[in-house]
């Protein structure tokens, strides 16, 4: 193997593995944090018992969050929550965040200062990639999460990296969610498959942590293993009051080897909508504008952050949700809910006739909260729109930015928010 520079993920895994490793090496890196949600924790507990595992490799590194179904409204859900509590207690889980405590497990660990740039985090959910917002490497471990809990690692090949250089600035009325959805359309899934997307370039300088969550959230939908925004002063400033550990801003080496380098000009993006049946089936909002909707939701690990709620509230202020539409709003975390209340955003949503739900994944988590009925049309800021994702199989599901969803909820049909805000006439 020839010596060469490292990508960010190669640096992270080299540190964790205590040896220099490059793309395609087979490794067993020990996770520095293991995250898991309420819908799998009970299964993991049963699996550990079935395999005769009496203790986790290091329960102090394990985090469980009740975010997929935080408000139990059925006997089955109440029992599941009880199982999760029992599991966390039995295995002495270090970070158990029950309903009402913290919120969505792909975001609040960053708010709580548990995630730093350069950390290696593994978790049961594809959107553990959100931790790339602060320069950490989050990777999903699904079936083998029991092995991860028991032994601290599972086999991995060190991933190749696709570098995306962001340039320019977004136009007014266009958000990072539009850019993220557009990328699902423009990137070849086979180019990014199993790769880490490393975002860098001058365009990242204008992106706050909330925007970086969104950017790191979506590439997994077309097969990327993870995403990382090259950390910078924005990360340092964000973590300054949250994280007592030293913050090391890992950069890729200039001679790092990439599978591909792609340049994306943020200024060329228009508001986007994902059409059925998949997130990558993306088109300009104008192609579906006017389609009547019944159901709308703002939230999820992709777009339930304070910045997203601000954008939606700005449009909803002094307006009403269309009588034919029910609009659900879910803050991603308790901290976001508190801040939104303090800023008066919650009042705006309530006055507009929206339904505010408990912090967490909201409608996006399989439609257990606020599902769609057969034949209905929904537009939301969730992560996926596969048939059946929100309940009824024959419902029609669109995905879009918080602005597009809020504007559509107001008019009752898919709407380019720039018309409502006067940016476009």
């Amino acid at each position: 193997m020839s010596e060469r520079g490292f990508t960010i993920v190669e640096k992270i895994l080299s540190r964790v593995c205590k040896q220099n490793v490059y793309a395609s090496s087979l490794v067993f890196p020990e996770a520095e944090l293991v995250t898991m949600h309420d819908w799998y924790a009970a299964n993991a507990g049963a699996a550990l018992e079935a395999f005769g595992v009496e203790r986790m490799f290091d329960p102090s590194r394990v985090l469980i969050s009740t975010d997929h179904e935080p408000l139990a409204v059925s006997p089955g859900a109440a029992i599941r929550q009880q199982q999760v509590r029992n599991f966390a207690k039995k295995y002495n889980v270090g970070h158990f965040h029950d309903v009402g405590r913290s919120g969505l497990g792909h975001v609040f660990p960053v708010e709580a200062g548990l995630v730093r740039p350069g950390m290696f985090i593994a978790g049961y959910d594809t959107h553990v990639t959100n931790f790339g917002a602060v320069g950490a490497y989050g990777v999903a471990v699904l079936t083998e999460v029991t092995e991860l809990l028991a032994l601290g690692s599972v086999w991995q090949t060190v991933p190749e990296t696709v570098r995306i250089e962001l340039t320019g600035r977004m136009q007014k009325g266009v958000s990072i969610r539009d850019v993220a959805q557009r990328l699902l359309f423009t990137l070849d899934p086979e180019l990014v498959d199993d790769a880490v997307i490393e975002f860098g370039g001058a365009g990242t300088a204008g992106l706050g942590i909330d925007a970086r969550y969104t950017l790191c959230n979506t590439p997994t939908e077309i097969g990327a293993r993870s995403s990382i925004v090259e950390p910078d002063k924005i990360v340092t400033d964000y973590l300054a009051e949250r994280c007592s550990e030293p913050v090391d801003l890992l950069k890729a080496d200039t001679d790092a080897r990439y599978r591909a380098v792609v340049t994306v000009d943020l200024s060329t993006c228009e508001p986007q909508v994902s059409l059925p049946p998949r997130p990558e089936n993306v088109a300009d909002v104008s192609t579906v504008a006017g389609r009547e909707i019944d159901h709308a939701y703002i939230g999820s690990c992709a777009s339930g952050m304070l910045t997203d709620l601000r954008v939606a509230a700005e449009l909803l202020r002094g307006r009403q949700v269309n009588p034919r539409v029910r609009l659900f709003v879910t803050p991603v975390s308790q901290e976001v809910a508190r801040a939104a209340a303090q800023e008066g955003l919650m009042e705006v949503f309530i006055k507009a006739g929206a339904i505010i739900t408990q912090a967490g994944c909201g409608v996006c988590a399989g439609g257990r909260i606020g599902p769609v009925a057969p034949g209905e049309v929904s537009i939301g800021t969730g992560t996926r729109n596969d048939p059946g994702r929100l309940g009824a199989h024959d419902a029609t599901l669109y995905l879009a930015s918080p602005a597009t969803v809020a504007a559509s909820a107001i008019t009752g049909k898919i709407t380019d928010a720039r018309f409502l805000s006067g940016l476009v006439r």
Binding site: T126, L142, T143, E144, A150, P189, E190, R389
Partner: protein, 179 residues
């Protein structure tokens, strides 16, 4: 492995095509239940037509979308092999963990195979012999460590072996400390 070829298209979805999402949400893991549910969203009758040894020959991005293992447990329960033009890595890993024999990169195979052809596949070498036409094609086999997981029957036996190894290592260390 030898059996009939069943040809499918590109972009077969994991949720909805290969397996209904409900089985993922209910965490169903019984191969005997899931084997009867595979491909229901694509072709209601397909699961009943498949017999052990048959091979699914697919286009690009087989089982794209949210990676849930239930469809692969169903394929393993039905003793079906997979020959894909491409498969997202997350689904590739699920196939391995479920113990489904596969060749993940078979460009051109679908175009040269007719529905119902008898195929004989050597997953160790990557050779695919079309017994019906007499034509043989060769593709890259999956890496040795992944093949070992499939041959062991999927992830559970491999995990058990690693647990046992760890226990023995601890015991050795413990007895070493006593000395």
């Amino acid at each position: 492995m030898e059996g009939r070829a069943f040809i499918l298209g590109n972009d077969i979805a994991n949720d909805g095509h290969l397996m209904a999402l409900e089985f993922a949400l209910s965490r169903e893991s019984d191969p005997e239940i899931l084997r009867h549910q595979i491909f229901k969203g694509l072709d209601e009758a397909l699961a009943d037509q498949l017999t052990p040894g048959d091979l699914i020959v697919t286009g690009r991005r087989f089982a794209q979308g949210n990676p849930h293992i239930q469809g692969f447990i169903g394929l393993q329960g039905a003793r079906i092999g997979l020959l894909t033009e491409s498969i997202p890595s997350s689904s590739y890993r699920l196939a391995i963990n479920a113990g489904v024999p596969l060749l993940p990169s078979c460009p051109g195979l679908r175009a040269q195979t007719t529905q119902g052809d008898i195929l004989r596949v050597d997953f160790e070498t990557g050779s695919v012999l079309n017994v019906t036409s007499g034509e043989e094609l060769n593709f890259a086999p999956i890496p040795v460590h992944a093949r070992a997981i499939i041959m062991a029957g999927g992830w559970p036996p491999m995990f058990k072996a690693r647990l046992k190894q760890q226990k023995q290592s601890r015991e050795r260390n413990h007895s070493g400390q006593k000395v």
